[in-house]
């Protein structure tokens, strides 16, 4: 795999079984501007009265419902700006998808 061109760093995280795990990875350019994100899908989630089968968090950590729900095994979304550019089973695969979409990979 070519070396990633973006600089990736941990974004939001959550405590999971006694350790903190990243819910998202943020890809920045050389100037430090965030231009891509890979986001872990969650769900089902109860929010208020509703049950969401699959959700992601947007840049402001608001719950975004995914319709239709993604197929099994597509647990990470690759996002550029507000756009979803691909899905992957694993975060590194999602990173490659995002970089490929940007043409930096």
């Amino acid at each position: 795999m070519p070396t990633p061109r973006l600089h990736w760093m941990r974004g939001r995280a959550e405590a999971e079984g006694g350790e903190t795990r990243a819910l998202e990875w943020i890809g920045c350019d050389d100037a430090g501007a965030a231009i891509a994100r890979v986001v872990r899908l969650q769900g089902p989630i109860h929010t208020g009265w509703r049950l969401y089968r699959a959700v992601a968090l947007d840049t402001e950590a608001r719950v975004v419902q995914l319709r239709p729900p993604p197929p099994a095994g597509a647990d990470w979304l690759a996002c550029i700006g507000g756009q979803v550019v691909g899905r992957a089973a694993l975060p590194l695969q999602a990173v490659r998808t995002a970089e490929a979409a940007l043409g930096t990979g």
Partner: protein, 693 residues
């Protein structure tokens, strides 16, 4: 024995389907680690772990054997387990006490039925495991096809850590995807000599592809490793190994290695992987204490962590009797114990003195003076400790989670040939049943015969053979019988009054009991709902006992009655004439009367049968299974052979092997294991009842 630091101990099992190469692999491990100076072979009957006469004669493993070896500064305690389903209890109890397991998968057939069964058992006990695809030298071997069966049949995320170099007789080594190098065996010296080499050009692209998959999957379990990867574009070998180990322990994925133990290739890297990826006793969460009555079995409870300084806690998981007495194998979870110490058997509520202690090496033993957390040892001198019992220090008398034992499905009657042998046979059978929780003994109330219940024809054959060789008892054996069960199909409320009040001290008891069917495997459940003292409290246990005893002899054909609940709701007593005995008699009679009205049915064991046959005999095999009341579940092809899976009543499977051989000119084989109990059809039930009458 406890000089090795805990983090350098590995307690592992080697398990697989029959003939996949468990004992062969164990034999190589003992040779390469310097424990033995020659390699024994199963077909020559001279392996270390198959030490029983019957094992050597038949070329199969019957009992699990514990051996210890040293590899690169670590101590590895290994238990080699049997592959035949009849001896599944050995796998069950071994997996219960081990910290990790190596599953050996045959490179030609892929995942086979017994591997599936053992895999589910390992799931039950959350055992971290490695997979070794073996026999890659064999004609028809295909690593990638065998690998695909892991996903298909076990539904797991499997991840190769190695790829084979060459196949069948050209198999020469493996590509190590962790260090991106080739490992080549040089031939000669029984595989002890091997060297690193660059990855062959024709495999480089494939190796890169699989290495990327390994990185993608393994690093996803560790954010710090991901950051290292983003920083450098790769990770250090130590980081990758740390991630693989974490994922192996959590079960996030299952690492896969490969080789051919028989041709002495691939075993040393497997040993390295045991050290690198399987947990030491301190890497696992610790063993749970048992649930209190009424507590959810699956709820999180206190765990006993491996600590030599903590109060002692251990689990007796195996008992064997030999000429020196009874040896009790114990997995020590916490504390340190010395010869002569006293411990509490917290399962049975009595104290035991520890006599001599041994480290076992198959049938050989080395005396040790103390044993600590993380170790497995054999104790002599325990008088009343059975398989599954907890031994603990008096200051912290914990009870550890018990083991689950399989249900026997085949009965045989056994009678000594001479009157002098009666006592010897009783003692022998009791000792054998004490060793083997999957063997049950009972006396048929009507015929007075001793009935042995076991897991299969082979299991009982070996028991009878051991009775003869080890206890000198010649016995007449009845034909194997299906272990039928009885149950009820509807609820009924029955009242029975037991009254004998003619002269002398009388007997009086009345019970009103509701009998209700339960789901399969529901067992026999008692509930007391008596209010107002209509049955005094001291007589309630007699009612419970009366039904349980009577349930051993069902009303239809005398088979044990299972899967029902009985609730005592009312009754009457007499101040002078009532007694525990009177209530027990009333309960027994109430059962007999109530069961007849509750729609009694006979249940028979249904087996999961897998027949592997050449394509041109599939029609004959399927037709024959249908004639045997089989329900075909599916058919799939594996190379030039077809695998037919069916559920077939055990009754129809006696002697199947000879019919199958003649039908297919000896080219097909089959395996079977217990699946579930089902009601027998009416005509068969009539036949069974007529026979029992």
């Amino acid at each position: 024995m406890s000089e090795t630091p805990l983090d350098k101990i590995r307690n592992i099992g080697i398990t697989a389907h029959i003939d996949a190469g468990k004992t062969t692999t164990t034999e190589r491990i003992l040779y390469y680690t310097g424990v033995s100076h020659r390699i024994g072979e199963v077909h020559d009957g001279n392996t270390t772990t198959d030490y029983m006469e019957q094992e050597r004669e038949r070329g199969i493993t019957i009992t699990s054997a514990a051996v210890t070896c040293e590899w690169k500064g670590h101590r590895i305690n290994i238990i080699d387990t049997p592959g035949h389903i009849d001896f599944n209890i050995e796998v069950n109890r071994s997996l219960r006490v081990l910290d990790g397991a190596v599953f050996i998968i045959e490179g030609v057939a892929g995942v086979q039925p017994q591997s599936e069964t053992n895999w589910r058992l390992a799931d039950r006990y959350n055992v971290p495991r490695l997979i070794f695809i073996n026999k890659l030298d064999r004609t028809g071997a295909d690593f990638y096809r065998a690998f695909d069966t892991l996903k298909e049949k076990l539904d797991i995320v499997a991840l190769p850590l190695q790829l084979p170099i060459g196949v069948e007789d050209q198999f020469s080594g493996v590509v190590d995807l962790v260090e991106m190098k080739a490992i080549i065996w040089e031939g000669g010296e029984l595989g002890a000599k091997y060297h690193d080499a660059p990855i062959p050009d024709d495999l480089l692209e494939k190796a890169r592809e699989y290495r990327q998959l390994l990185l993608d999957t393994a690093l996803s379990v560790d954010d710090a490793a991901m950051e290292e990867y983003f920083e450098a574009g790769d990770v250090a070998t130590a980081t990758l190994k740390r991630c693989i180990k974490a994922a192996t322990i959590s079960g996030a994925f299952r690492p896969v290695l490969c080789g051919t133990a028989f041709k002495n290739k691939g075993v040393q890297p497997l040993l390295d992987a045991v050290l690198d990826y399987l947990p030491s006793p301190i890497d696992v969460p610790g063993i749970k204490i048992a649930a209190e009555e009424g507590e959810d079995e699956h709820a999180e409870r206190r765990r006993i962590k491996a600590d030599p300084k903590a109060p002692f806690a251990g689990l007796a998981f195996k008992i064997i009797n030999d000429k020196y007495g009874t040896l009790t194998f114990v997995r020590v979870y916490a504390g340190t114990l010395r010869s002569g110490d006293m411990v509490q058997n917290t399962t049975r509520g009595h104290r035991e003195r520890i006599g001599r202690m041994f480290q076992m090496h198959a049938d050989k033993r080395a005396e040790i003076k103390e044993v600590s957390a993380g170790d497995i040892a054999a104790f002599v001198g325990l008088k009343d400790t059975m398989t599954g019992d907890t031994l603990a220090a008096a200051e912290d008398p914990v009870v550890l989670e018990r083991m689950a034992f399989p249900v026997p499905v085949i009965d045989i009657s056994v009678e000594p040939r001479t009157k002098e042998s009666v006592e010897k046979m009783t003692i022998g059978l009791q000792k054998l049943a004490g060793e083997d929780p999957s063997l049950r003994l009972r006396t048929d109330q009507e015929s007075g015969q001793t009935i042995l219940s076991g897991m299969g024809e082979l299991h009982l054959e070996i028991i009878i053979d051991r009775l003869k060789r080890e206890y000198g008892v010649e016995a007449n054996i009845g034909a194997p019988q299906v272990a039928y069960r009885e149950t009820i199909s509807r609820a009924v409320t029955e009242t029975y009054t037991h009254k004998k009040q003619t002269g002398g001290s009388g007997q009086y008891a009345e019970v009103k009991i509701v009998f209700e069917p339960l789901e399969r495997n529901g067992g026999v459940v008692f509930e007391n709902k008596v209010v107002g003292g209509s049955v005094p409290r001291e007589y309630i246990p007699a009612v419970e006992k009366g039904i349980r005893v009577q349930a051993d002899t069902g009303v239809l054909a005398g088979f044990p009655t299972v899967d029902f609940k009985y609730t005592l709701i009312d009754g009457k007593y007499h101040d002078v004439d009532s007694s525990a005995l009177a209530f027990e008699i009333a309960a027994k009679a109430c059962f007999r009367e109530g069961m007849k009205k509750a729609g009694p049915i006979i249940l028979e064991p249904i087996m999961d049968v897998e027949v592997t046959t050449p394509q041109d005999h599939v029609g004959d095999v399927v037709g024959d299974l249908n004639r045997r009341r089989g329900m075909i579940q599916n058919q799939e092809s594996s190379g030039s052979t077809i695998i037919v899976r069916a559920h077939v009543p055990l009754k129809e499977m006696f002697g199947y092997i000879s019919d199958l051989r003649s039908m297919t000119k000896g080219r097909a084989s089959f395996t079977m294991q217990f699946h579930h109990y089902d009601p027998v059809p009416r005509n068969i039930a009539d036949e069974i009842m007529t026979k029992s009458a």
